[in-house]
């Protein structure tokens, strides 16, 4: 049986499960595509990252229910590690904890500061959370105190790249004609 579901018909909590799942899959595919793009961009140091794959996550903050946001986050963490070939190394541990921290912080910040920031501020908070958690782990698990020697450039690059990413996400959110069609309940004005 096929339910004829007009986009406007799917209300706040009551959107049909297959539809939201398809959107999660689509967002995850975009995440992994961006992760591949990021992977082929040469980087002077392995820890200096752009974080392109976080773009769909920023948009998902407002559009997906919390459970589906974390589903997307999990797929992104696993898929990105597969692409980078770091699934079974300590890098995965860093990536996992960093992504989880950033996801939690962004979600909390978005809920608490609803409307008083753009995605730029949210993106910066997420990047800082992720980078600080990764540095702390690197200090205690892998590298010892010298891990903090790379902290300032690492954090600075994160701040700049996350600001740019946040800006891009915000622009996309405001100008996209596709998003309002997919998520009419979030674009009611």
């Amino acid at each position: 049986m096929r339910s004829v579901n007009s986009p406007a018909g799917s209300g706040h909590g009551g959107s049909s499960p297959p539809r939201i799942q398809r959107l999660v899959a689509l967002a995850a595919a975009v995440c992994l595509f961006l992760a591949s793009i990021e992977y082929v961009i040469p980087k002077p140091l392995p820890f200096l990252r752009i974080g392109l794959a976080n773009l769909p996550l920023l948009l998902a903050l407002d559009l997906f229910p919390v459970s589906h946001f974390f589903l997307l986050l999990g797929i992104k963490i696993l898929g990105q590690s597969l692409i980078q070939g770091s699934l079974f190394s300590f890098t995965f541990l860093l990536s996992l904890s960093g992504s989880l921290a950033s996801g939690l912080v962004m979600l909390a910040a978005r809920r608490l500061l609803r409307g008083s920031t753009t995605l730029i501020g949210i993106s910066i908070l997420g990047a800082m959370a992720s980078n600080l958690v990764q540095l702390t782990l690197a200090r205690y698990i892998v590298f010892g105190r010298s891990a903090w020697m790379i902290a300032p450039p690492f954090l600075l690059v994160g701040l700049i790249s996350s600001s740019i990413l946040g800006y891009l996400a915000q622009v996309y959110k405001e100008r996209s004609t596709w998003l309002p069609k997919m998520f009419p309940q979030h674009f009611s004005e």
């Binding site: 500061l113 008083s116 753009t118 954090l155 600075l156 405001e174």
Partner: protein, 130 residues
């Protein structure tokens, strides 16, 4: 909806500055800690007892260090140490001039005064052969 530009909110800028301040604090803590000021150790064996003084290299002081022959005058200024006068016959300590790097030393053997700079090893090589 014809939003031509993203309207950045005040809180965005506050978050950005807040992050910048945190990065600044971490950099200060990371890079300042390792680079402690070198110390000057001055020891003398005047009047039958060994004495030792420690001064920071970035301070300013004029010290009269007592020794068996009299007072050796040591000046700490502009990140360097120098003996400007000493009651010894050869004045080797005065001729040594200013020292400013960890590992360097000035000795006045007749007056039994020894001055050395201790601290983190400098990044420069001891000597270069050409």
């Amino acid at each position: 909806m014809t939003a031509s530009r993203v309207r950045i909110r005040a809180l965005d800028i506050i978050i950005f500055l807040f992050a910048l301040i945190i990065i600044g604090l971490i950099s200060l803590q990371t890079y300042a800690r390792g680079r402690g000021t070198p110390e000057i150790t001055i020891s003398s064996a005047g009047q039958g007892t060994e004495q030792q003084w420690i001064y920071p290299l970035d301070g300013e002081a004029t010290l009269r260090v007592p020794g068996p022959l009299g007072e050796t005058v040591v000046v700490i200024k502009d990140g360097a140490v120098q003996v400007i006068s000493s009651p010894c016959p050869e004045k080797i300590c005065v001729k040594t001039g200013r020292i400013s790097k960890p590992g360097q030393w000035i000795a006045c053997l007749p007056n039994r005064v020894f001055i050395s700079i201790r601290g983190r090893r400098s990044q420069q090589p001891d000597a270069v052969s050409q």
